[in-house]
Amino acid sequence: MNTQSQITFDMAGLANAVERLPADAVDALPFGSVRLDPQGLVTFYSAAEAKLSGYGARPALGRSFFAEMAPCMDTSMFRGRIERAMAAGKYDMEFGWIGDFSDRLRQLQVRVQPASDGGCWIFIRRD
């Protein structure tokens, strides 16, 4: 079993490892964690994320930002691929933004991985 210190934002089975931690350990991770149930409702919102995001109730991510990144990703074929992968619980997606925030020194990375209940985990790292 992973201890909190062994968990990094970039590790392969991040969601898996985080799910095994007690809630206070998740709160203490250096990056934010949010868990959505299969309907997209927030079921867990780590204190780290609350603090880092300035107490926004949920990350300001579009519901299907996986495909809305760019017009040429937003095709029925690609959406289909994502839906199939999500239905199968086999996906690992990472998104990064830099240079376009009110605080331009800040970089944001988001990782999305399947949760064991069919929903998903969203991890958010800011630096």
Partner: protein, 727 residues
């Protein structure tokens, strides 16, 4: 004796008649042949027939083969040639003619031997009787009418086709007409909503402008009090200030509420004490509703906290109240209630704070757990409620809550906002102590630029009190020469909106001489987001806030809320995160095309192919004015076009989301910050090759200042699946 008795008869006449008859017959036959009319005779008793050559031709039969058969053509042979479907009719008609002696007409089909095609023949048949009137033989003529019959069939088909088409078209037209009526109705409704929203927009503009003015006035008053407090030490005099200052704070808060209602700035959610937020709302609602609407508040003691933007909550409640008042029956009362609600099981399990707004006529008419019923009565729809509900939806969505709406004639409208209970406790930000700030302050020269003279004078006093040297200027035109001749200049404090050139232009021009010069923008306008990520000190502000912001800008406070202005490292940092060397070279090229003062590269340099990556690039132009920004694709590279399967050129960017991860939002941020941005997305999906999407957005300009176009470079890379995590 033998006698010869001779009879001589003159046979000239009969012979002549016979010859004439033959000639007539020949002529007739010739005419019939020419007209391609076949002629035949049939013996009434034996059924033996004689056919003319044309008759043979009509049936497609060689005359030699039939004539050679014993007895030649016969009635049986004739009938056998007729199409089975018409054979019986022909047989019966012949029988009848032989029996009755009456002639007949018939159109019938034959199977034409050479090609097996069906041909139509017309038949006219007459009966010749013997001297006793008994039918002796039939004489018939036939000719080919296939062409006519075909035409008839085609005509009939096309008639029925035409009828079908007419029926279909009629159906379609009926449908279209229904659709059209519905569309007209929808448009009328939309038109009404538009008028309403235009009214609201106009009102918003007025409120926005007035708020701006009020903020300036309040800023002056607050600065005066700040100044007085520093100068006055007599206890009973400071007590007066103690009384006055909260009034300014309260006025400031009201103005903030007004501004929040007038415009859609970014929400500022925080861990909110709902009881306080609702008390604020109650105040504002009573003011807003005036004498016409009575409003009752019922707020549970010990209401749980929620995470939301309290100003938005107030704005929403006031807007709802105003609109509901208009649809309320006379004498009804508006009731705003808030309570905690814990429930387990069912779709609404969990802990919620329920805020309801209803008129008293509708009390108890609400289902607590039912699905939202966005059914509005026409009267409610005509009011602004529909628009309010959009705002309510957006608000509750943002707060992670849900909205329940019910509206019916006689019952009125009731709206419930369910907000999830906040499960965290917020850290308390230690307010800085004034003496601490005072110790850090002073010993720097500040250029203060503001066209509001009273406000500028008072702010200058405050700054001087803190130990700074202050150079004052009423506008950019004066500020620039003053800055030029100043020996020392450490900071510019400037209003954003001023007559003539505004604060941003001032700063750009000042930096030509002093590239590292920091600036602190101040503004009375709520949404004054600045280029280059500059944060803005909003008017009115307290002396402490000003002191703090100035120190932060001067780099004397470390853990600052407002980051020190550093432009170059930002770009380097962005460059470092460009792992793809192709993107890095485009980025370097873009940077090299900025002029020394930092103005944006010229659009024309990139339109053709300044980057050697035209296949991977796209250009959008910025369209619309200040408040309605949009983008249109003007160029799209081959690789992107192939991936999408169509060209986007000429299309508008229809994505209006403001969340991260939406392409439109990225374009807008690049436009607003006038600086480059980089995004990537790494998709590892089921058993497929992982895909890396990278996009670099670079702002371009026609005039070096205004962003007029965005250049995007997009690279797709298939990555090796190093993790093998799905296998």
């Amino acid at each position: 004796m033998i006698r010869l008795i001779g009879i001589t008869a003159d046979v000239t006449a009969p012979r002549q008649a016979e010859a004439a008859l033959r000639e007539n017959e020949a002529q007739l036959r010739f005419a019939l042949d020419l007209a391609e009319i076949g002629i035949w005779q049939m013996d009434a008793v034996s059924g033996a027939m004689t056919w003319s050559d044309i008759q043979y031709q009509l049936f497609g039969i060689d005359p030699d083969t039939v004539s050679a058969t014993p007895g030649g053509p016969s009635r049986n042979g004739f009938e056998a040639l007729v199409d089975p479907e018409d054979r019986e009719i022909l047989h019966d008609r012949i029988e009848e003619a032989l029996r009755s002696g009456r002639s007949f007409k018939l159109d019938f089909r034959i199977n034409h031997p050479p090609d097996g095609h069906v041909r139509w023949l017309a038949l006219r048949c007459g009966v010749q009787r013997d001297s006793e009137g008994v039918p002796e033989r039939l004489i018939g003529v036939s000719w080919d009418i296939t062409g006519r019959k075909m035409a008839e069939v085609i005509l009939r088909d096309s008639n029925s086709g035409l009828e079908a088409r007419v029926a279909e078209r009629t159906h379609a037209l009926t449908h279209a007409s229904r659709e059209l009526s519905a569309e007209i109705r929808r448009r009328e409704e939309a038109q009404a909503a538009l008028v309403q929203s235009q009214d609201l927009q106009a009102l918003n503009l007025v409120v926005d402008g007035m708020s701006h003015e009020f903020n300036n006035i309040l800023a002056t008053i607050q600065s005066s009090y700040n100044l007085l407090r520093r100068r006055i030490t007599v206890a009973d005099q400071t007590a007066v200030i103690d009384l006055a200052e909260p009034a300014v704070t309260r006025a400031t808060k009201l103005i903030q509420h007004l501004q929040a209602m007038a415009r859609h700035g970014p929400a500022q959610p925080l861990l909110a004490d709902l009881a306080t937020a609702l008390a604020d709302s109650a105040d504002l609602m009573r003011h807003t509703l005036g004498s016409r609407g009575r409003c009752r508040f019922d707020v549970e003691v010990g209401l749980w906290p929620a995470i939301l933007d309290p100003i938005r909550l107030t704005a929403l409640l006031v807007t709802l109240a105003v609109n509901m008042r208009d649809t309320m029956p006379d004498g009804a009362e508006l009731e705003v209630a808030a309570c905690n609600r814990a429930s387990d099981g069912g779709p609404s399990s969990g802990e919620w704070i329920v805020i309801s707004v209803k008129d008293t006529a509708s009390a108890d008419g609400m289902s607590n757990t039912g699905a939202p019923e966005n059914v509005l009565t026409p009267k409610a729809r005509q009011s602004g409620i529909g628009l309010c509900l959009t705002a309510a939806h957006s608000f509750t969505g943002q707060a992670g809550g849900r909205l329940f709406v019910r509206s019916a004639p006689e019952v009125g409208t009731s709206i419930e906002i369910h907000l999830p209970r906040a499960v965290m406790t917020g850290p308390v930000n230690e307010p800085r102590k004034d003496p601490e700030l005072a110790a850090l302050s002073g010993g720097a020269t500040i250029l203060l630029v503001d066209d509001d003279e009273n406000f500028r004078l008072l702010t200058a006093h405050l700054l001087r009190d803190l130990g700074y040297s202050v150079i004052e200027a009423p506008n950019t035109e004066v500020a620039i020469p003053l800055a030029h001749i100043a020996e020392q200049l450490d900071l510019v404090v400037s209003d954003i909106r001023m007559p003539g050139e505004g604060g941003p232009t001032l700063w750009r021009r000042l930096r030509l001489d002093r590239p590292a010069l920091p600036i602190l923008f101040i503004s009375g306008s709520e949404n004054a987001a600045m280029a280059d990520g500059e944060q803005v000190l909003r008017k009115p502000f307290s002396g402490t806030q000003l002191a703090e912001a100035v120190l932060e800008r001067l780099g004397r406070l470390t853990n600052s809320a407002i980051p020190a202005q550093t432009s170059v490292p930002v770009f380097d940092k962005l460059r470092d995160s460009l792992r793809n060397p192709r993107l890095r070279s485009v980025y370097d090229y873009w940077r090299s095309r900025r002029d020394p003062s930092g103005n944006l590269p010229d659009y024309s340099l990139f339109r053709i192919d300044g980057t050697n990556m035209i296949d991977n690039s796209f250009i959008v132009e910025v369209i619309g004015g200040r408040h309605t920004v949009g983008f249109r694709f003007v160029q799209i590279g081959q690789i992107l076009e192939q991936r999408l399967g169509r060209s986007l050129v000429g299309e508008l960017v229809d994505d209006v989301g403001d969340e991260l991860g939406s392409a439109g939002a990225s374009y807008r941020r690049c436009l607003e910050t006038a600086s480059p941005s980089y995004e990537y997305a790494h998709y590892s999906l089921a058993d497929e090759t992982p895909l890396l999407f990278e996009r670099l957005l670079l702002p371009l300009s026609d005039d070096g200042i205004r962003v007029t176009h965005l250049l995007g470079i997009v690279i797709f890379t298939d990555l090796p699946d190093v993790t093998g995590q799905w296998s």
